[in-house]
Symmetry: D2
Subunit: 373 residues, 4 copies
């Protein structure tokens, strides 16, 4: 073999294309993770792709959508829905709380025409999580289509489309699953497929189209892919599901739940005015905890100080206007550890003290440790 002929050798090049059979088997593996009998379509892009594709496929001028806003993604979904011509009823709840099934029921009562509900399960950006099981019961009773963004919940807390009556459940692997961001998945119920088929404006022959996958991939027996897949990301998705299976989904979710409990308990004990942004524990997302900065101190400044000695900490300020008041602790994936929580609390305590605010790191850590167990 002439050694001179290959100048650059790289394991990411010259791979055999990912075959349809392996692609289908990865879809099946994701379906098992979601305990669903629905069709699971893996789309070749970030989770925004199936999120947008699912709305554009199902919503149209005849749609009356109840759009629940518990964070920035809900606002995006409303934009898409209006763009499709749907009548949109926004149900915005303060970011420090979750929506309740009762609020959903009340909205149905007020707007009987609602035939579509869009909801973000958990929002990493605001740190809340919504009671999807209870909401699903209401939505199903009303016969509306139920669309769920589970990107920030899958792997951190139960995501059960079938048990909950979710018709369009979108996931990505980049948060609690500890996997790639470049491919994502959506489970689609029979009802959702029917709604799309009846929607003349549903994208077809488009990168956004779910129906293309239905008609050319699923209905064809999953023999021929629509286009060459993002093969490395697909292999990474397979690997991360394999790891979750090996660890046990319950153990993985348990680590996230413990990290959230520890962060919240620690922040409360730290004092200095820092407190959980989401008031109720049961409304707090297991994947990421948001904290409210003490009044008079910019959250972004605290975060900058905390990261200055340790840029790898999973801390960020809130986005946009929230940068003033919200600190995010992203204890998901590899950071779903007590160590990441401890280091984050200690760094926040030090940042508070630099601003002249007393902070009881000792108590914070003890509280975090107690809560972790």
């Amino acid at each position: 073999m002439s050694e001179e002929s290959t100048v650059v050798t790289h394991p990411f090049l010259d791979l055999a294309p990912l075959g349809a059979a392996q692609f289908a088997s990865i879809e099946d593996r994701v379906a098992r993770l979601l305990r669903t009998e629905q069709d699971v379509v893996i789309m070749q892009g970030e989770a925004l792709l199936p999120l947008e594709g699912a709305i554009r496929s199902t919503a149209g001028p005849g749609t009356t959508a109840l759009n629940v806003i518990t964070g920035p993604y809900g606002q995006t979904f409303g934009d898409w829905l209006r763009d499709c011509g749907a009548t949109v009823i926004d149900l915005a709840v303060p970011f420090h709380t979750a929506v309740t099934a009762a609020q959903i029921a009340a909205a149905f009562e007020e707007h009987p025409a609602i035939d579509f509900v869009s909801l973000v399960h958990a929002e990493a950006a605001t740190g809340n999580t919504n009671p999807v099981a209870e909401i699903g019961e209401v939505v199903r009773r009303q016969g509306a289509l139920f669309y769920l963004d589970a990107v920030a919940s899958v792997g951190a807390e139960p995501v059960l489309p079938d048990a909950w009556g979710v018709d369009l459940c979108v996931i990505g692997a980049q948060k609690a699953m500890g996997g790639p961001a470049g491919v994502s998945a959506v489970s689609v119920s029979e009802r959702a497929w029917a709604r799309m088929a009846a929607n003349p404006k549903a994208p077809r022959r488009s990168y956004l189209s779910l129906l293309d996958w239905k008609e050319r991939w699923i209905d064809g027996g999953r023999k021929a892919l629509l286009h060459a897949p993002a093969q490395l990301e697909m292999l990474a998705l397979e690997a991360c599901v394999e790891r979750i299976e090996a660890d046990g989904l319950d153990a993985v979710m348990g680590r996230h739940r413990a990290a959230a409990a520890a962060t919240r308990a620690g922040a409360r004990a730290l004092g200095g005015g820092l407190e959980p942004y989401v008031h109720e524990d049961r409304e707090a997302a297991p994947a990421a905890t948001t904290l409210r900065a003490p009044s008079g101190v910019a959250a972004s400044e605290l975060v900058t100080r905390a990261l200055s000695c340790d840029p790898a900490l999973p801390l960020a300020a809130g986005g946009g206007a929230l940068a003033k008041e919200m600190i995010r602790v992203n204890h998901y994936g590899v950071d779903a550890t007590l160590g990441a929580v401890r280091a984050s609390l200690a760094a926040l305590g030090a940042a508070l003290r630099e601003k002249g605010i007393a902070a009881d790191v000792e108590s914070a850590l003890r509280a975090a440790e107690d809560a972790w167990r």
Copy 2:
């Protein structure tokens, strides 16, 4: 380190996210490969994503588009253009030939309203390549926007958006570049950006949107990505451009040109009724050669026979109706070798003989070898 804590170790997991700086540097590297000063946007999906996004961003009811059809992709572009409300003038040329600059000029003469031209540079599916430099001169003279699909040409033959006046030049790495299929790129001229900005129906806040990348990524100084990128595919794209740089782009293109010349010469010498589908050498794509099956023999059957003993050969039957008459030899990427050409010719010769058709493999190989040099 507790060894029991990690059940599944995999190099594709738990990577640090790809930062904005590295993302931007990969864009710059692609721009250098295309010798362009235009903005290069890397989109997080297969090449269909920027292909569709570029059309939906620029075309609208006020657009008069000349859509050149030299293969299946041209037909898809026409669908998208019509979908956008554009007036579409289809200029279809037989798949065994290329379009000429004169044909383009004549179309402009006949339809002076044309302000958009869409063209596929080379089509792997039909094996032709079009004279983009000459066509570009005509299009520029007319002031129309020039949209080019260079997915099957980049790496195999020159692709020079600036020199040729291409306003939207889309590439993917999965063919002659020997790279990943999951991310792709488009270079965008100032004129194209202006057209999009003036287009009220250009996708915004959408996975299909180019303007989102312009406004939130480029205009912001490429500091913050719109969403987490497909990081493994991005690294693979970087690696494949690095390899092309190390080998030399001219050398890489030379291998593809030689492979095409050898395949065509070989097929002619093989006899038995097999002949190049594209008549003129200069209209034949360097990345893939199409052959016409002898009359009375289905191309798909010949391919099936040829692959039966060697499923790794880069052979395929034409798509759809072409399956009857067209054989594709995909001598791109790792298959841009004389060995792949020889093995393909020998396999086709054997398949012909199995059908009772004489084939002169000896002459075919000699002709291929002569043409390769």
Copy 3:
């Protein structure tokens, strides 16, 4: 997460160390591939490491070794054996043939003191393969320890240490298994362990030591590794065994056997003086075929010509003095295809013709195709 903090992101960095449990499971998988109940030790180096380690561990001044030389590795083994102080009886057979069980039996008769037999199963460098099953019967009857180098046979033909009575069976993944070269394995019988334990000069506390692995790894229940493993190579070994399991070992071996048969038949039909170096088909290795260059033509020159237009062909001249007369066709791993055989035969035919020697490529290919089936 500060994006500026990570300048270089690479999937090969910052991996969690490979744990003992996964290491052990890879050993078990290799054992299943070899259908052996013996201990399998994976050593962290190229196959030369266990090859050398096994000899230095078992041989000493009291050893009388029958060293069978059917290629260059046999010569190396003799050097090691002498270096250990063993009495070495070299049994060299011409490289164009294999050793026979009768020759082994005769050697035992002549030298009843023989208590160790070293043999290369198949030699890629000379292209022969030896009848290990029959030889094993003789060796076992005589009670000698049986050491086998199966690096160039595993994956291409059956390797069955238990059925054949092999005491030390060394494999590497870099040939027919299509895997990595950086780690390798040896299966060790109880008798071999006992021999080592009784050998005062067996390496201990040494990178060459097998006893270290026995005493500190195996006897300790495989809980703690001796040192951090070559983790990427281990994962690659796991992947290649997984692929063989998925394809089926029989299918993988079948491809290699077919490639050898096709190459030999093709070379014979090619004429021009080229002929199989190993006379008897049953003595020819499935992993690689050696050919004798026509008299008056240097093999190395033919190979250079053949590679000039196609450096990726799996061709090489023989090593050392054999460079004059021997051509090697390495149709193993990804090159165990009819396409690689066809391309190699065509390239050799063209090279012969350039030297003014008639070669019937047409017949060569037909013969190869017939033999492949």
Copy 4:
């Protein structure tokens, strides 16, 4: 391309072999990292391979070796030296300190025959680092050969074979470099090569041999490798050196130095009887800090408790007899962060309290933060 033909696709399989040119360029890159003009040989195994190979190549019955023991590796080197027939003078210093240049000078005075000095630069297992620059001056003045194990120092503190007069400097990438463990390197001075060439017992034609690499690789102009390399590990080594170059070696070393300072200051402030095992700061290794457990408490028990809630923490008990009294904080590679130090101190504080021992975590963290800056 038949999709059914590939059952398992994996980026680690079917790679083109790593060529000699790329191998040589990786050696050159390692040489630049060490600022050395000496030959750098990359050996295909864990660092134990060049460590052992270098001793067996240079030491023999005529050697008088001063073997400095500051941890377990020094003991291993003494075993190898004796095994080679060398006269060994062991200079053992307590693990809580470093050896001094004066002690080395005194040893030379007492034993003028010393012509070889073996030293571990820094020992992760005991946490000390030795003043190699000063010692090098003494050794050079005496004309002895200087052998240095820099595996646990390279990347964490300066390693300068040329400036310090080191003749055999062995490194591995698995600690502060954050790279692979499966390949390693040794720089060899001209004097060292000469010593080996004159040593009749230096390994030759052996996996342990350095002379094989000298004679067959370096002297041949680095054209042909001795055997197929561990290609994935080589690529990982290249990637980790590239990352260090991008970050800046000084910055990488700075992080390790800061982590050590913070850990030591934090442990002192924690109280409860925990204290740095190595008394003097300047004798403490930047890569890893060892701590002495309070009397009456087993270090291994504290570590087990600390890891129980957070198995990913970089904590370990000392090896062997040290398990009772020594705790290791391995703040190297990805763990060279303030966050890892904070989490480790907090975990140790919690473990102490569980044993009923007061620990001032608050003060520990403050001290660590002050020391980090």
